[in-house]
Symmetry: C2
């Protein structure tokens, strides 16, 4: 089916567009009262594993905020779960993996699963969402980067420093690379099936890439992202968002990704100078700034747009939208991007 709004895909292909496309990380989420209503009735994994619910949640921000792309409602931790680890998601508290991976023996408890067997509900959700979107906007699929998934699989929960996960990599590099390879193999199969089910592009979230030094990022994270991009890039456009990993923008670009996400802690001009001119950049509005008064949001959006310059830019936040953001502030952000015109 031909897309009615293909701004995102044309931008990812490097084509000229009349304006920058805009969407928001975590746009299908807790700041939306419509989402909170479904959340009261269905627990997290019910929402994720029931295609009808996942599709409905995915489409909410298209109806309510009028963004230019949908991103599947799911969670990066479905992959560790499919690999055999128990994952609990305690609302407002974050993830808990009660039996994390610490030793060679623990690795025996996990596997590279048949994704069609363990994650079919995701592919069903993609198919249903595509059908219900009915060509309004493209649908982005996604997965966590292997390093970020390792963080949770080893640490067992969220952390400011992910000290145990990092110490695991420094102390048992062979085990760490085994685990990273297993996650990578699973992720490649997982993303390929998302594309087969209808995802128009995919994003790799390396939320904790910025906890690593440049050398560590390029040893522990980047090689696996590279494998994933290599395996996917002939089938779809791949966006890499490695939060904070500004030092490796050039190396990330060289993976063949179509787009690199950046956060608000790097200026668009600096990111452009590191990544080179021939790649699309995505970002980078400070999500906390959506708590500002609407006139401030509009002014700051104009500064951001000017910073990125014309073309090769997908407007987005620099991290997920916060649950405390008023809906009309989110709408003001999206509206300000759509109104922006280069002189």
């Amino acid at each position: 089916m031909k897309l009615k709004n293909d701004l995102l895909l044309r931008t990812l292909r490097g084509e000229h567009t009349e304006r920058a496309p805009v969407w928001m990380m975590r746009q299908a989420g807790r700041y939306l009262p419509e989402y909170m209503k479904l959340r009261e009735k269905h627990d997290f994994f019910t929402r994720v594993q029931t295609p009808e619910l996942a599709a409905a949640i995915t489409i909410q921000p298209i109806d309510i905020i009028d963004v230019d792309a949908a991103i599947l409602f799911s969670d990066i931790l479905v992959v560790p779960q499919a690999m055999g680890l128990e994952v609990q998601l305690i609302e407002s508290k974050g993830p808990l993996l009660p039996e994390p991976v610490k030793t060679q023996n623990d690795l025996k408890r996990i596997c590279v699963p048949d994704v069609n067997e363990r994650l079919h509900y995701v592919f069903d959700a993609v198919k249903l969402t595509k059908k219900e979107l009915n060509g309004r906007v493209p649908l982005i699929g996604f997965a966590g980067a292997p390093w970020t998934l390792l963080c949770y699989m080893v640490q067992g929960k969220g952390s400011k420093t992910f000290d145990e996960a990092k110490a695991f990599c420094y102390s048992c590099p062979d085990l760490a690379h085994q685990l990273l390879q297993m996650i990578t193999d699973t992720t490649i199969a997982y993303l390929k099936e998302q594309v087969k089910a209808g995802a128009d592009a995919v994003q790799i979230f390396d939320s904790w890439g910025g906890l690593l030094s440049k050398a560590d990022f390029e040893n522990i994270s980047l090689p696996y992202i590279r494998q994933i991009v290599s395996a996917l890039k002939d089938e779809t456009k791949v966006i890499i968002f490695a939060k904070g990993a500004w030092q490796s923008l050039k190396e990330m670009k060289e993976t063949g990704a179509a787009c690199l996400g950046i956060d608000w802690c790097i200026e668009p001009e600096a990111a452009r100078s590191f990544s080179g001119s021939d790649i699309c950049l995505q970002g980078n509005f400070d999500p906390v700034k959506l708590l500002s008064p609407i006139p401030v949001i509009k002014k700051e959006v104009r500064l951001m747009m000017k910073g990125f310059g014309k073309g090769k830019h997908i407007a987005n936040l620099g991290h997920g939208i916060l649950p405390t953001v008023p809906v009309d502030h989110a709408r003001a952000f999206v509206g300000a991007v759509k109104e922006y015109r280069f002189e």
Copy 2:
């Protein structure tokens, strides 16, 4: 009294030294069993406010780890406390300010205090520490940067994003700047008295500088750091450590600081290219790497030293040492720096 080991001060003055000086942020802290013994007997503010205890804790890492500088055992939150806010420090949980600043009215509850009245115990601790150090190594005094203190004074507790503190700055910029100026005035008086009491150098900790975009950092944080450096630099050497604020290294250097601290998420070579060649840099070992096996620590220290190159470098961690670090790993870090020789 003449210092027996003045490596740190000579490095801060830009002089040639036979090797790089080394100390560790939070070196007087929870990884030391000797510290934990005092912690069992005396609560946090007793330790901070009793000069004999603060001096003993400050000197512990000199005896045990053999670092080249002492840094006063204290806390950045003694300043908000002296300004009139209640500060609770719950062991292993972090700070709590039960009545944070949110409105113009709240500002009336705080003041720019007479530091000699409210913080005399710090100056007494500095004097006693200097006496007991007996010239072995220099003593570093410190304070939090106004932005980082505002984070706690507005948010009321630790946070991953300090969303309320940032939203306060974006929504009520006038109030925010009033508060920042009050903190700055207090901090200048506070650091001047530390120097008068005997501190050989001072460090400004902007732990949350890296949460801000470059433009916000240069609007909200840097102007106040600049005031502090201006007021102090003729009396002592000032080290600025604004974690994550790599985009403003050049601007920080231009304040007249003697040294800039950097974390492990920027390569020494990159930091050098941003800051210019004529300033001392401090850092930047990943504190989590101290959980690695000792041979890995030694190898990584050599890589770090090579990255900084000869001269104008104070070896340190890129953030505070973690409570879980074995003492012999801390010692291995310090030893590896001391052994390092440029070819």
